[in-house]
C-alpha cells in the first residue's frame, strides 16, 4: 500500500498484475501458503514448498482448486503461475489452491474422491447437477472398485458434456472439470483399471 497500486501491479506480469497467495498442498515437503508474483514459474513455487517428497516424482497438479482441470506434472513444470498461462494449458488458476500429486497417486482413486465431493456438495436444485454428479461419482466408484466397463470412459465424458454449461450455478461445471481432465490426461490409467480390475500405480 505504501508503494501504490502501480508498484503492486508490477510485481506480476502484463495482464496478470500483482501477487497471489498460493495454497500449496499435497505431496510436497513444505505445504503452506506462498505469496508470489503472478507469472512466477511453477517450478519455483514447487521449490518454495520444499519440492516433491523425496523418492517420488511429480505426477500431476491441480493448479486452481479442486474444480480446475488437472494437468500432468511435466506440463506444469513448463508453466508460469498466472491466469493466462494456466488457461492456455487448459485449466484455470481459480482459487490458487495448488494440489500436487506425486507418482504414488492413483488417478482413479483421486478422481473418485473429487467426484464424491461434488456429488455431496450439489444443492440439488437443478437437474443436470443433482442427477449428473451422482451418476459420475458412481461410475468412477465402480471403476475404482474393479467393476468398470470399457464404455464407461466415453460415458463419463458425455455425461459431463450434458452437465457442463447447463446448470444454474457453476457447481455443475466444477464437477465436470476434474472428471473430463483426469480422463483426458490419464486415460491409460483408467483403462488399465477397467481391464485389470486393479490399480496401475500399485502394480
Amino acid at each position: 500500500m505504501r508503494h501504490g497500486g502501480q508498484a503492486f501491479l508490477e510485481l506480476g506480469k502484463p495482464n496478470n498484475g500483482g501477487t497471489k497467495i498460493f495454497s500449496v498442498s499435497g505431496h510436497v515437503n513444505k505445504p503452506g501458503n506462498y505469496e508470489v508474483g503472478l507469472g512466477t514459474p511453477f517450478a519455483e513455487l514447487l521449490a518454495m514448498a520444499g519440492g516433491v517428497r523425496s523418492g517420488h516424482k511429480l505426477k500431476a497438479v491441480i493448479p486452481g482448486g479442486s474444480s480446475a482441470p488437472v494437468l500432468p506434472g511435466e506440463v506444469m513444470m513448463d508453466l508460469t503461475m498466472d491466469f493466462d498461462s494456466i488457461a492456455k494449458a487448459g485449466s484455470m488458476l481459480g482459487s490458487g489452491a495448488v494440489i500436487v500429486m506425486d507418482d504414488s497417486v492413483c488417478m482413479v482413486k483421486a478422481l473418485e474422491r473429487l467426484a464424491y465431493f461434488y456429488f455431496e456438495e450439489s444443492c440439488g436444485q437443478c437437474t443436470p447437477c443433482r442427477e449428473g454428479t451422482g451418476w459420475m461419482y458412481r461410475v468412477v466408484h465402480r471403476i475404482e472398485h474393479g467393476e468398470g466397463r470399457p464404455e464407461d470412459l466415453d460415458l463419463l465424458m458425455s455425461v459431463g458434456d450434458n452437465i457442463a454449461g447447463r446448470t444454474i450455478c457453476a457447481l455443475g461445471d466444477a464437477a465436470v472439470g476434474p472428471v473430463q481432465s483426469f480422463i483426458k490426461h490419464f486415460r491409460q490409467e483408467f483403462e488399465y483399471h477397467i481391464e485389470h480390475k486393479k490399480c496401475l500405480v500399485g502394480a
Binding site: G124, G132, W135, R142, V159, G165, R166
Partner: protein, 773 residues
C-alpha cells in the same frame, strides 16, 4: 417494446417478457417442467434450454428476459442436444413405472420423453428410492417419481398462501415433504396434483380406479360456492370418476378448491335415493313415479283446497339449478302460495323490504385481484370461498390493504392491515365506528345515518380501517356468509352501504352458494322461512342442517300434514317426509347457475341419472301438469331457462343491485356474556360435500366437530382443552370436544352450524354457555 427473432419469426413482445413468453406468443412449444404461468420462475429443471445467438451456453427460456434484437433458436441442434441431455438426466433416477402410475397418459415427463428421450437408458447404477409422505386423505404420493420441479412447493407458498410443502436435504437426496410430518391442510391442496408434471402427487380417492384414456371429459359448473368454478367431469361407464379444473381465467383461473374437486365422491354415495318412496305409517315403500307423484300432488292439493295456497311453502337449496328453482316458484305461485325461500340459513329478513335488487359481488370476480383497499365483513373467507381468498391474497401481494371485521382472527395467509375482532353482536356498533371515523375525517354520510352516530365511541382499529378506506383507489367492502346470516344482517348491509358510499368503494356480497344469485333472479325468496305451513315442498334441502334454527324448522316439518321432498339423498328427511322423490344431482341433469358476479353458466348432464332418479326440472314440470297448471310444457332445460331469463345474461345485469335504504339501526353497545359464532363449515356447505368421504376425513372436517374457545376463556370457565363439554343455547344442548384457539375473542365460542353434532342447537348466533360434562 422489444423485438425478438425466434425460430426465424420476428415478433414484438411486452417489455419484461421471457423467451418462454415469446415462444408461447409465437405458437412455438419449448419443452418445460418447472415453468408454470401462474408461479414464480424457478429455472431448475433446465428442460427449456434454447440457443441464443452470442450466448456461449444454452439459456433457460423460462428465465431469460427478451432483449431487443435477440435471436433465438429453440429447436436447433444445440438446443435439442441440451434438451435431450437434460431429459436423460431427469430419467436416470425416475422409476419409469408408467404401467402402474396414475399419471400415465397425462404425464408431462412421459410425453416429453417420447420426443426427447432415448429408447434405452445409459444409466446402469442403482436408482434412487424416496420414502412416501402422508399428505392426508386427498393426495397420494409416489415421491420416487418426483423430478424436483418445485411447482408444488411454489404453489403452496405463492397461491395457497402457506408453505405446507418444502424441499429438504441437498443434492440427490433432495425431497419434497410437508413441514415436520404434517399433512397438507390447505383448502386448495388438490391443485398440486394438476401442477405436478409427473405421478409423484396424484389424487388419493381416484387412485388406480381408471386410466386417463378411458375417461370421457364433460364440462360442468361447480354446484358449491358462489364462484361458479368451471369443471371437467371425467366419466366412465356412466359414473363420475374425478373432477379437474376447466380453465377460466375470469373465474377459477386454472385452479379448483378441494371442495369442487372432491365432492364428486358423493355422486356415487350409498345414500343416493334411487327410487321414489312413500311413507306408510312407520315404513317406507318403494313405488313407481306415477304413484309417488300422484300421492304428492293429491296430498298437497287437499291442503291447498282446504286451507288456501299459503298453507303450502317451498324450501329450496341455492345449490339447485336456475331451471329447477324457476319451475319450483312457478308451481308454488300457480298453487297460490307466495312462500318460497332459498335463504334457509338467514336470520334477518328485515332488509328485504328496503332493497330492490339482486345482491351480488358488485364487480367482476377478476377485478378482485386489482383492488387496493378491502374491508371483509363477516367472511370466513378461506372456508367460504377458497378461491376468492386466493384472489385477495394476490391483491395483497401487489400492495392492497386488507381490513377485516369478524369474530375470529383467522389467518388468511396474507397480511391483514387492520382488524376488528369482536363478537357478532358488536358488529353493528363496530361498523358504526368505522362510519363515524369516516365522518370525522370529512366524508359525508346519509343524513338518516349521520344523526345516529353521536353516542358512538370510535376505537383505534375502527379509525385505522376508516383511514385505510379513505386512501387508495379501487376499493370494495365485501359481506361474507357470516354477515349475511347474522341476526342484524340488514343493519350490517345498511352500514356497509353507507361506508362504501362515503369512501367511494364498491359494495359486494360474497354469495354463498352456486346459485344464490340465480335463486334471487327467479324469485325464490319471500321472507322468513315458513314455520306454520301445512304442506312443504322441499327441493334439495336438508332443513335440519341448512336452517338458521334447525330444531325450530324441524318441528314445523314434523307438525306439517304433508312434506314432499325432492332430494338426491336419503337422510334425515326420511324422518319427517311423506313422499321422497329421487332427483338428479348437477352431474346428471342439464341446468344453469348464476354465480356471484352475475354470470350465467349452463351445463349438460355428464352421465345419466342413477336408478330412477330424474332431473328435478322434469319432476316439477310433471307436478305442474298434475295440478293442471298452465305453462308446464317445457321439453328441455334450455326452454325452461329461456322462460326464466328471456334475455339471458343481458337481462341479469340490470337487476343486480346491492343498494339498501332506510334500515333502522340499533346502535346500543353489545351486552356481556359468551356468544356463539356459528358458521357453515367448508365441508358441510351442501348435501353433496356432506357425503364426500375424503373431504370428511380432512382436518377441516374434524375441526368442525369441535367447540373452539380462547385459552383465556377455557381457563376462566375452569374447563380443559381437549375434553368434552356441554354447550347450551336457548334450551338446547350439544356435547362437543373443546379445542383451544387463541385467535378468538374471550367472549366467543365457535360452534359450527350445519353440522350433525350441533343440529340440535337453536340459532347460529346469540348467547351460549359451556360447561364440563
Amino acid at each position: 417494446m422489444p423485438h425478438i427473432e425466434i425460430d426465424g419469426k420476428t415478433i414484438e413482445v411486452a417489455p419484461g417478457a421471457t423467451l418462454m413468453d415469446a415462444a408461447n406468443q409465437a405458437g412455438i412449444f419449448i419443452p418445460h417442467f418447472c415453468y408454470h404461468k401462474k408461479l414464480s420462475i424457478a429455472a431448475n429443471c433446465r428442460m427449456c434450454l434454447v440457443e441464443v445467438e452470442k450466448a456461449p451456453k444454452p439459456l433457460p427460456a423460462c428465465a431469460t428476459p427478451v432483449t431487443e434484437g435477440m435471436k433465438v433458436r429453440t429447436h436447433s441442434a444445440k438446443a435439442v442436444a441440451a434438451q435431450k441431455g437434460v431429459m436423460e438426466l431427469l430419467l436416470i433416477n425416475h422409476p419409469l413405472d408408467c404401467p402402474i402410475c396414475d399419471q400415465g397418459g397425462e404425464c408431462q415427463l412421459q410425453d416429453l420423453a417420447v420426443g426427447y428421450g432415448a429408447s434405452a437408458s445409459r444409466y446402469a447404477e442403482p436408482k434412487r428410492v424416496v420414502r412416501e409422505k402422508d399428505l392426508g386423505p386427498l393426495i397420494a404420493t409416489d415421491m420416487t417419481r418426483c423430478i424436483h420441479c418445485s411447482r408444488c412447493v411454489r404453489f403452496s407458498q405463492e397461491i395457497a398462501g402457506r408453505m405446507e410443502l418444502g424441499m429438504v436435504h441437498r443434492g440427490e437426496h433432495t425431497e419434497v415433504m410437508p413441514f415436520l410430518e404434517q399433512q397438507m391442510h390447505s383448502e386448495l391442496s388438490g391443485n398440486v396434483i394438476d401442477l405436478c408434471p409427473v405421478g409423484a402427487l396424484t389424487s388419493k380417492p381416484f387412485r388406480y380406479s381408471a386410466r386417463t384414456w378411458e375417461l370421457s371429459r364433460r364440462k360442468s359448473i361447480s354446484p358449491h360456492d358462489g364462484l361458479g368454478a368451471n369443471l371437467q367431469l371425467h366419466t366412465k361407464d356412466n359414473r363420475v370418476y374425478r373432477v379437474v379444473p376447466q380453465e377460466n381465467e375470469a373465474i377459477n383461473e386454472c385452479w379448483l378448491a378441494d371442495r369442487d374437486r372432491y365432492a364428486y365422491e358423493a355422486l356415487n354415495s350409498e345414500e343416493r335415493l334411487t327410487r321414489p318412496m312413500v311413507r306408510d305409517g312407520d315404513k317406507w315403500i318403494e313405488v313407481d313415479w306415477q304413484k309417488a307423484l300422484n300421492q304428492a300432488a293429491g296430498a298437497l292439493r287437499v291442503l291447498r283446497d282446504t286451507h288456501g295456497g299459503n298453507a303450502l311453502a317451498a324450501l329450496a337449496s341455492p345449490h339447485q339449478t336456475l331451471e329447477e328453482l324457476h319451475l319450483l316458484q312457478k308451481l308454488m305461485r300457480g298453487l297460490g302460495s307466495g312462500r318460497i325461500e332459498h335463504r334457509l340459513g338467514q336470520a334477518d329478513f328485515s332488509g328485504d323490504a328496503k332493497r330492490q335488487g339482486v345482491t351480488w359481488l358488485g364487480m367482476p370476480i377478476a377485478e378482485l385481484n386489482q383492488l387496493q383497499r378491502v374491508l371483509l365483513i363477516g367472511a370466513t373467507l378461506r372456508k367460504e370461498q377458497p378461491l376468492i381468498a386466493q384472489r385477495l391474497r394476490q391483491a395483497v401481494k401487489f400492495g392492497a390493504q386488507l381490513n377485516v371485521l369478524h369474530a375470529a382472527d383467522d389467518d388468511l395467509y396474507c397480511r391483514v392491515a387492520n382488524k376488528l375482532i369482536v363478537k357478532p353482536s358488536a358488529w353493528v356498533n363496530a361498523l358504526a365506528q368505522v362510519a363515524k371515523a369516516l365522518q370525522e375525517a370529512g366524508a359525508s354520510l346519509p343524513a338518516e345515518l349521520a344523526g345516529q352516530l353521536n353516542d358512538i365511541t370510535v376505537s383505534d382499529s375502527a379509525r385505522a380501517i376508516a383511514a385505510s378506506l379513505n386512501t387508495g383507489e379501487r376499493k370494495a367492502l365485501l359481506l361474507g356468509a357470516v354477515a349475511q346470516n347474522h341476526p342484524a344482517a340488514a343493519q350490517l348491509h345498511q352500514l356497509v352501504a353507507a361506508i362504501a358510499a362515503a369512501c367511494g368503494a364498491k359494495l359486494g356480497f360474497l354469495s354463498p352458494a352456486a346459485n344464490s344469485v340465480g335463486a334471487q333472479l327467479v324469485g325464490v325468496q319471500s321472507g322468513p322461512v315458513a314455520l306454520d305451513a301445512k304442506g312443504y315442498l322441499l327441493l334439495g334441502v336438508e332443513p335440519e342442517l341448512d336452517a338458521h334454527n334447525g330444531p325450530e324448522l324441524l318441528k314445523a316439518l314434523q307438525a306439517a300434514e304433508c312434506v314432499v321432498a325432492l332430494t338426491a339423498f336419503k337422510g334425515r328427511v326420511m324422518d319427517y317426509a311423506d313422499v321422497v322423490l329421487p332427483i338428479a344431482p348437477f352431474s346428471e341433469t342439464a341446468g344453469s347457475f348464476v354465480n356471484m358476479e352475475g354470470r350465467l353458466q349452463s351445463f349438460h348432464a355428464a352421465v345419466t341419472p342413477q336408478g330412477e332418479a330424474r332431473p328435478a326440472w322434469k319432476v316439477l314440470r310433471v307436478l305442474g301438469n298434475l295440478f293442471n297448471l298452465a305453462g308446464f310444457e317445457q321439453n328441455s332445460a334450455e326452454e325452461v331457462r329461456q322462460e326464466a331469463l328471456p334475455q339471458g345474461e343481458a337481462g341479469i345485469a340490470a337487476r343486480l343491485d346491492n343498494a339498501i335504504h332506510g334500515v333502522a339501526l340499533a346502535l346500543q353497545p353489545p351486552g356481556a356474556g359468551i356468544e356463539r359464532l356459528g358458521e357453515v363449515p367448508i365441508y358441510q356447505l351442501d348435501p353433496l360435500v356432506r357425503r364426500a368421504p375424503a373431504l370428511q376425513q380432512t382436518q377441516d372436517a374434524r375441526d368442525a366437530a369441535c367447540a373452539w374457545a380462547s385459552g383465556a376463556l377455557i381457563q376462566r370457565l375452569n374447563l380443559i382443552d381437549g375434553e368434552h363439554v356441554r354447550v347450551r343455547q336457548a334450551g338446547a344442548e350439544a356435547v362437543l370436544r373443546l379445542c383451544r384457539d387463541d385467535r378468538l375473542p374471550d367472549d366467543v365460542l365457535r360452534v359450527a352450524a350445519a353440522h350433525p353434532l350441533t343440529a340440535g342447537l337453536a340459532g347460529r348466533f346469540g348467547a351460549i354457555s359451556v360447561e364440563a360434562v
